[in-house]
């Protein structure tokens, strides 16, 4: 195992990666922007290096500053977390060219999956089902309209290089399509540096279900069950659970096999996630995209399997065997994650501010991955995730019951949070029944 790791990220995920590294006896290095100097993850690390001003382009996306921090501290490996540079193949190559260990998949796998059009085509060739869509980038609105007529409305318009729901929109007809196309193009250029657009048939009543995979050094691709991420606002996840209440044994098995084929198609190593859309009525699924990094919602998988996914990332990156027997993975109980965002619970608008009170729930089956504590300032420069409240129970009912108590006792003051939304979600009949889809939040907030 390598002696040290630099975590090229911030907030809750930096803290979470540092926790496992420390447990494994790996020296940890944090990097931070001027806006984050007071955050807990900076203190948790053995060493911390300032890397620049608050805007991400001048700090967490500044590859030169991050590599300089690695040189200065003698870090032997770099863990990118999620977001920022985690899916940047050029950065992964720079890290290895520097003689450091990249805690992530091969850069070629990141590249192949990073372009969503390429990923779709690749999956189709590998025998993984994909939705009707475009096989080459769509470059103008007339071409988009022609393609949409072929695919059939409604269609989803999205950035080929995109992620995080940014620039994605649904069009029910040609007028909406042309507007959506223009918006998607400008966002795609601004956020992802590429104007390439992809159209896909939109499944209205779909569940968003993803498969956790782990590529081993002997080339085997393991699966570690699914996560249901259908509770979304603005195409971004708000709550997740495993197992999915909407996926039966036969469909699950087909999805797990497709995820293995996806991983094999790109020679995957380490932790990754194959995202799918499940059409519950048709009892069928299509490939959506692959995230070539640790996923925000990975704790629910850890809670039902007892496997520390960050530990497996470190082991695979170091060329070693994983810590568990791949033939005997046991799945126990049910786990949910609730993303606590700094946003108002009605319209979901951002609410930066200073945290004056922070009291986390605790107890049996409760895990809180938090990026902040009382006294911290939450700035407008980064995403609104404050903490992940994760809950485990022997059954879904027990997990939801524990979640209700935990949400009620989680106290955060000084800014608005969506805790009230989570309380309502847990009280809603639709969520409680388990038969919900990605339009659930829109129905709760008409």
């Amino acid at each position: 195992m390598f002696e040290s790791v630099l975590v090229a990220n911030r907030g809750e995920i930096a803290r979470r990666v540092i926790a496992t590294a420390r447990r494994m006896g790996i020296r940890t290095v944090a990097v931070y922007s001027e806006a984050d100097a007071e955050l807990p993850y900076v203190r948790d690390a053995d060493q911390a290096v300032p890397i620049g001003p608050p805007p991400p382009a001048r700090s967490y996306l500044d590859t030169g500053a991050i590599l300089a921090a690695a040189r200065k501290t003698g870090a032997r490996a770099i863990h990118p977390g999620y977001g920022f540079l985690s899916e940047n193949p050029d950065f992964a190559r720079l890290v290895t060219a520097e003689g450091l260990i990249w805690v992530g998949p091969p850069p070629s796998a990141i590249e192949q999956m990073g372009d969503k059009i390429n990923a779709r085509n690749l999956m189709e060739q590998a025998g993984v089902p994909v939705a009707a869509g475009t096989r080459v980038p769509v470059t103008d609105a007339d071409e988009a309209a022609a393609q949409a007529r072929r695919i059939g409305y409604p269609v989803m318009v999205k950035a080929a290089a995109g992620g995080g729901g940014i620039g994605m929109s649904v069009a029910a007809g040609e007028g909406e399509l042309r507007a959506a196309f223009d918006t998607a193009r400008s966002r795609a250029e601004r956020f992802f540096g590429s104007p390439a657009i992809l159209l896909e048939r939109y499944i209205a009543r779909a569940r968003h279900v993803e498969i956790q995979i782990l590529g081993l050094n002997d080339s085997r691709i393991l699966t570690l069950g699914e996560r249901d991420c259908s509770v979304q606002r603005r195409h971004q996840k708000v709550a997740e659970e495993t197992p999915s209440p909407g996926v039966g044994a036969a469909l699950r098995e087909r999805m797990l096999q497709a995820a293995v084929r996806a991983g094999e198609a790109v020679g995957y190593r380490g932790a990754g996630t194959v995202e799918c859309l499940v059409d519950a009525e048709a009892d069928d699924f299509v490939f959506l995209e692959m995230n070539t990094r640790l996923q925000v919602e990975h704790p629910v998988t850890e809670m039902v399997t007892g496997i520390d996914l960050v530990e497996q990332q470190f082991l695979v990156a170091a060329g070693e065997k994983v810590s568990f027997d791949p033939e005997f993975v046991r799945y126990g109980g049910h786990a949910c994650e609730f993303r606590v965002y700094a946003e108002d619970p009605r319209r979901f608008l951002p609410s930066p501010g200073t945290i004056t009170e922070w009291a986390e729930p605790s107890g049996e089956g409760i895990r809180v991955d938090a990026g902040y504590q009382a006294g911290n300032q939450v700035t407008p420069f980064y995403d609104p995730l404050l903490a992940k409240l994760c809950v485990h129970g022997a059954s879904r009912a027990e997990a939801l019951s524990r979640a209700r108590d935990a949400i009620a006792s989680f106290r955060i003051s000084g800014l608005k949070t969506n805790l009230l939304f989570h309380a309502e979600l847990l009280d809603s009949r639709e969520f409680a029944s388990g038969s919900y889809d990605t339009s659930l939040v829109a129905r709760l907030r008409p």
Partner: protein, 70 residues
């Protein structure tokens, strides 16, 4: 006269309207950016933009004046 103020801490990403411009009810005046989200600031009634108190790249605090529409 309507004073339009920032609802949250944000960066001014785009200034869409100009001083002296006639705007419709619901027209976008300015686009804020906060926490990776773009938030349009809209005119709440038709009128003339008599003041634009922000420029692109500014940081506004909750309650700061953005524009006046008369």
């Amino acid at each position: 006269m309507a004073e339009i103020r920032a609802e949250m801490v944000a960066n001014i990403w785009r200034v869409v309207a100009a001083e002296g411009e006639q705007v419709e009810d619901g027209a976008t005046l300015v686009i804020l950016e906060s926490m990776k989200m773009e938030i349009p600031v809209l005119a709440e009634a038709p009128g003339t933009v008599t003041k634009l108190a922000v420029a692109e790249g500014d940081v506004v605090q909750e309650g700061d004046l953005i524009a006046i529409v008369e």
